[in-house]
Amino acid sequence: MLLALLALHAIAGLAALSGARRLGRWALVLGGLAPAVTITWAASRAGAVLDGDVITEQVSWVPGLDLSLDLRLDAFSLLMIVLVSGIGTLVFAYAWSYFGRAEKVGRVAGLLTLFAGAMLGVVLADNLLLLYVCWELTSVTSYLLIGIDDDEPEARAAALHALLVTSLGGLAMLGGFVLLGQAGGTYRISALVADPPSGTLVGVALVLVLVGAFTKSAQYPFHSWLPGAMVAPTPISAYLHSAAMVKAGVYLVALLAPAFATTGVWRPLVVGVGLTTMIAGGLRALRPFDLKQLLAFGTISQLGFLMVLLGIGLPEATAAGCTLLLAHGLFKAPLFMVVGIVDHEAHTRDLRTLPRLGTGWTTVRVAAFLSAASMAAIPPLAGFLAKEKAYDAFVGGSDGERLVLAGIVAGSVLTVAYSLRLAAAFWRPDAVAPADGPRPVLDHGPSPTFVAPALLLAGLSLLLGLFPALWSSLVDQAAAALDPEAGASLKLWHGINTALVLSGLTLALGTGLFAARGAVARAQARLAPTVTGADVYDAVVRRVLHLAALVTSVVQSGSLPIYAAVILGTAAVVPAVGLLSGAWWPGWPTLVTRAADLPIAALLVIAALAAAMAARRFVAALFLGVAGYAMTLFFVVQGAPDLALTQFAVETLSVVVFLLVLRRLPDRFERHRAPAVGVVPRLAVSAAVGVFVVAMAIAASGARTEPPVSREMTERALPEGDGKNVVNVILVDFRGLDTLGEVTVLVAAGIGVAALARAGQRPDRRPDRRSEVT
């Protein structure tokens, strides 16, 4: 069934994509069916899973490589499905009103469905490699979704930014997975967590995996892609960048933390990065006027919070993390939705130009205030329960844990401040940002169907806050699935304890920070770093492109002589390294073995040098002919009459062809531009090749250890080949296929020659080609 659900997403997504034009907004219904079916099915199994049942499925994929589709549904996966499929279904409903009859709605629907399927795969996968595949599928679909307005350069750049950062992190993670799988002897996550391997290599593997998780969950210093991704239409932001994709990193960390938190640098790294992200993201969320940017940095901050809770590997914190995971999805998705509604109706989401919302906006305001209150952890909302649990987890701990607690409280104070800032936008925008002019009043509110999904989620935040028993067992069991010692037992009222005092303190300080917003803004403007993460990304990308251009301009000069020099030089120099050992040296052979060699060698050398130095084409070609005929003589004295005959015939033909072509070309070698290879390197490469050939000839003469194979060929030529001329028998019989290849090459060359020679002249080209060269 798990596999069938994944397949359903794929089929529905592809169907919506292929029928995007005809289906229009109905593609959303088709696509939304997949997450709706998933959440319904999950709800029907919730009872059994919460009793401790684990649903597993395994389909063998590549048995030889031990690759299989391992799927596993436990209580923690169930919690994630509530986010992925539950909130997913509502996002589809919200998108129905948001996109209306927009042209791209079909494409969005298809891609959203495929994304939902990939994300479902991530939370169901019980195999590291399968998880990686689904993980990268979410990156790819998210790339397509962020860049859905593909005629906007800004959207394309943001999509690429997200893809580059998350997929590079994903590659690091893959490396970590492989190391982890090799060390543990299995790629099954449940088996690895049950029996965790250890060692230095595992420590390295975990750091690599964490890099992947940090990039995906937009942790500092990899966070800068998330604010950029806000160019996407709001339903996409609400789904990918609050509920689903950005939680993948947190999810993975949560899976591994109970088993690996004490291995290597895991705990200090995760807690350090998480706290930095929580506080830095919170500070940044106080600055932007764009409501989506505010939400984006708020999300980054909350993801840091989740990273700390779920990554620290302490049972209490894990339980708190599971609570916050759900609570965050419940308040962040509706916040994105209401901001999207304002943007959609008022065509702005900038605090400075935002209209005053009139009477038709009551439902939107209720949804916004409830969700913002849950984000600020105001009782009795779901976010308050989560924050209480988080404080409670660290209150009684060691000094180090108290330090973490201090960091969390600081981050939460900032959360309260930016939550109030967001809420003010729906109440009195003038309170947080001076208007550019008189603010218009927007009385006509959005349609009820548009608001319904956000209102439903906001209502859930309130309902779950008031009645913790509704979700206590889900969170409890999810935490227990990660760490058997963890248990949540949610309660609204624990009596007056340290956590409650801290909560009160947080609210008071946060409200104070918001009240002093003018001074805070001035201080931030003065102290804020001038270089943002996006600047760093831009600089890195620019440098990489620059480096690529530089490397290309060096290794790919585009000049044939340079390529030839590199190839021939390498061919001469690299084997020389082997020859330098001297083991091959058979000693100098006889100076001259045959008197007849002397004139032939002299002729060859003189002809070669003369051809190289000739200033006229004809002369050079004629000396080449001389060398060819000298070769004929050499073959004769060497006892190779066939070669001599062939060489003679070919040489004669060559000279004729040369003369036919050279007749057309200028008489002298004229130089139009500087030689690509200077004289000195040219002579050096030539000399290196010459020396190498001499060494090679002498080495080859001393290299024989066995009798030549040709002796057998000589014996078998007459009885088996029916030929007395052994060379001919070798060519047409023993190595007949070789000769067939040779004939093929000749035919191909002949066709080429005919085509080139008969091609017409382009009438528009005049011989003057210098104008186009410079």
Partner: protein, 129 residues
């Protein structure tokens, strides 16, 4: 095998290389032919000092090695095919540009110019954001 013929092969290959590194296509072609000759000498030498033509049935015992000869025969013919094709290219080059000079690749030069350009105004764009 003699030092003399080894050095001859070396000289043929060296002059061939020298010619191949030039810009005029006709010189490159002559260089390739020269390289071909050098390699053929090398191949034949690897079969030993030679001897009588390998015609079985004749009353001789000191056969030359026939296998390198067969290889060289193939090489001669292939070299001829390559050279004819290159000559046709040279002819074509003359038809189009009235010369046979090998020009640099236009696209590669564009990239090289771009790299220089990037070197010149590095960092200017950062201020915009």
């Amino acid at each position: 095998m003699s030092v003399l013929m080894a050095v001859t092969a070396g000289v043929l290959c060296a002059t061939g290389t020298y010619l191949v590194l030039g810009r005029q296509l006709s010189r490159v072609i002559i260089g390739i032919a020269m390289l071909g000759h050098g390699v053929n000498v090398l191949l034949v030498l690897s079969g030993g000092d030679g001897g009588d033509p390998v015609l079985v049935g004749e009353d001789v015992t000191d056969f030359a090695d026939p296998l390198p000869q067969a290889l060289v025969l193939t090489a001669i013919v292939i070299t001829f095919g390559v050279i004819s094709f290159l000559l046709a290219l040279a002819y074509r080059s003359w038809v189009v540009t009235a010369d046979d000079e090998v020009e640099d690749d236009v696209e590669d030069r564009r990239i090289a110019r771009e790299a220089e350009h990037l070197l010149d105004d590095r960092g200017d764009e950062g201020a915009e954001r």
